[in-house]
Amino acid sequence: MTPMLRKGWFDRAVMAALVLLAALWMLPLLWVLALSFKPNELLMVRTDVFLAPPYTLANYADILQTSAVFRWLGNSALVAALQTLGVLVLSSLAGYGFARCEFPGRRWLFPLVLFGLAVPSQSVFIPLHRLFSDWGLQNTYAGLALPGLAAPFGVFLMTQYFKAVPIDLEEAAMLDNASRFKTFFKVVLPLTLPAQATLGIFTFLACWNDYLWPLVIATKPEMYTLTRGLASTQTNFAQSEGLGFLMAQAVFAGAPVLMIYLFFQKHLVTAVAGTGRS
């Protein structure tokens, strides 16, 4: 007997309801996918078409024939990878520092970092842009990636995680003459891999999907990220005259993220479930 059959009727009802809700949640996404294979001319008149013909790959062909699209894809991947790497390094170091090290100002510095969680990124947008443009970082990879390195959530997550690691392990390493950094790097850091994976995935996805910051800091087409670049190709009335193209753009931009999800879904689910610990 399978575990499902062994469960009671209530569990099965809950499962059925969840499946139904998941299907409902998926419906708009499937609709987007279906519309991306429809001719724009048809979608000007009807958007209630789903599986019925006609079908076309023209919308995807139009994306791929946009001269800079692979460059934008590369820019997105590069910026997201650099930002993810930077956030992991900085958050781990800062988290370890807050969790284990005593230093002057620690008691007020940590709440100050947490306060960063309450500040919407849009509220610091103008001064941030001013700062970066004054530093000559407009249209540079550094300009695209650096602001995301200030990650209060990452510092908070890693601090809590390091606090949960038994201190005995570190003390044992130090008794064996390991330096503080060696203890951190060789003993404690490997234990935080699930948290690193969680933080890495969230950072990568947030950076990949970001549109607003690249909108103002990347103003030359060769420096656009994928979201920014695809948006720039939209005609003024795309929601009416180029709906299929618009939907294909959404699928194209989302596909790499979906692949990342497929590779790392175990860590993502763990992270979302709030049990990011092995």
């Binding site: 590369g74 820019n75 990878a81 842009h129 030359k220 087409p221 060769e222």
Partner: protein, 447 residues
């Protein structure tokens, strides 16, 4: 394993980022940048070097720039930088702050004033005659649109306006076609209401489809049209105050409210859905701009379309004493600092001259020409329905150029007029709130 995978991905990203449109073309003598919206259509028009072969806004402007690049004998290369329509001015402002200034940029005439007041745009009065561009050839609306404090700050590109796109088959069913084969148009608010009632009674459908959900532009433009037709000054002379407590404002709002409340406007439509409803024969009239003419015409030629053989378009009918229709326009501006060298400056002017010479091609989009000579030409008049619309080059009405932050003001007005229709907000409250919010916004403007 995972680390290797990550390194491979990183290397792949770097390689991709190095890819791009690095064609092995000879270095141009002078390179200038052109910032614009209208989308990107490299796939279809990237290799088209003849403006007359372009189709639609994106196709024509792309082919036009390609033609300039291919035919100019001065070694000038225009590098196009596209940005999407909605956040266009946010990006433009970000570029100006970062001193990453485009040489030439497209601007709505309604947005021009904000940049001129900040002294960011170069006046063109001295340059235009040398290019053979006569300002006397500008249409009335175009000239008003690009003139601030007596100086010309941009080269007008087109005029776009607020129109009634009409399904004449449905109008016929409703008994609203004249003996001359043209739709009977209302001449007063009462006539409009009577017409809408008759249409609903005979066809069972609402007369109008217009976008109310997810956008505020349509309601604002209709409101502005009704105000302009009553010859009303909504703003003070210095453009720093709006007065919503005028009987003409109540007239306009009451009419819009009654049309919606009596079910003469198909409810809950966004921009795309409003156009769809019209194309599917679910409403007699869609109130939208000049830019959809070509699209609707193409649909009307399809045998299976409910619009087949039954489409016409007219300016928003005159319901009050003055012929006026909300209109705006696109124009090309030269930003100060956008040309680093005299050669680049000269190249930018050559581009403007080229665009001016191809004005008639752009008029194929449905937008109205900004040159009298083109508007009066047989070729333009021979384009479908343009004869009906040519009067807008004279009757087009915009907000006075003295009003700053016009796009924000339009948004504030549109939002509350939409509230009036969708959520039944009382007219008096709409008047109070628009006045309060717009005046607050205008007060904040420094220049």
């Amino acid at each position: 394993m995972k680390r290797s995978l990550f390194m491979v991905m990183l290397a792949g990203a770097a390689v991709l980022a190095g890819c791009g449109d690095n064609h092995a073309e000879p270095a141009p003598k002078t390179e200038i940048t052109l910032m614009r919206f209208f989308g990107s259509c490299d796939a279809k028009f990237g290799a088209v070097n003849d403006a007359s072969q372009g189709v639609g806004e994106c196709g024509i402007v792309t082919a036009m720039v390609n033609e300039f690049n291919a035919t100019n004998t001065d070694g000038i290369r225009v590098k196009t930088q596209t940005a999407e329509w909605a956040p266009y001015y946010d990006q433009l402002t970000a570029r100006l702050v970062a001193k990453d200034i485009p040489t030439v940029a497209v601007m709505h005439e309604s947005a021009l004033g904000d940049y001129v007041r900040r002294r960011l745009i170069e006046p063109l009065d001295a340059s235009l005659p040398a290019l053979g561009i006569g300002v006397n050839d500008f249409t009335d609306h175009a000239r008003r649109g690009v003139t601030l404090d007596g100086q010309i700050y941009a080269l007008p590109f087109d005029t776009w306006a607020w129109l009634w796109h009409i399904n004449t088959t449905l109008m016929g069913q409703a008994g609203l076609m004249g003996a001359d084969g043209k739709p009977r148009l209302p001449h007063s608010p009462d006539e409009l209401l009577a017409m809408a009632r008759q249409f609903k009674q005979r066809t069972g459908k609402p007369l109008f489809a217009w976008a109310i959900v997810k956008e505020t532009a349509a309601t604002n433009r209709t409101f502005q049209t009704l105000i302009a037709q009553q010859d009303t000054k909504l703003f003070s002379d210095d453009g720093r105050r709006i007065d919503m407590h005028q009987p003409q404002v109540v007239n306009a709002l009451s009419l819009m409210q009654r049309l919606y409340a009596e079910g003469h406007v198909k409810p809950n439509l966004d921009y795309g859905a409003a156009n769809q409803a019209f194309l599917n024969g679910e409403a007699g009239v869609v109130v939208v701009g000049t830019w959809t003419i070509d699209q609707f015409l193409r649909e009307a030629r399809k045998p299976e379309s409910p619009l087949k053989g039954g489409y016409t378009v007219v300016p928003f009918p005159q319901l009050y004493q003055r012929p006026a229709v909300f209109a705006d326009g696109h124009s090309w501006a030269l930003f100060k600092g956008g040309a680093a060298t005299p050669e680049q400056h000269a190249a930018a002017l050559k581009l403007l001259q080229f665009i001016w010479q191809r004005s008639a091609e752009w008029a194929r989009t449905g937008h109205l020409p900004v040159r009298r000579s083109v508007a009066q030409s047989a070729a333009f008049r021979a384009l479908p329905f343009r004869e009906n619309l040519a009067e807008i080059t004279r009757t087009g009405a915009s907000m006075p150029s003295s009003v700053p932050t016009q796009r924000a003001v339009e948004l504030l007005i549109g939002e509350d007029v939409s509230n009036l229709l969708v959520s039944g907000k009382p007219i008096a409250e709409v008047q109070d709130d628009v006045e309060k919010q717009v005046n607050k916004a205008l007060k904040k403007v420094r220049r």
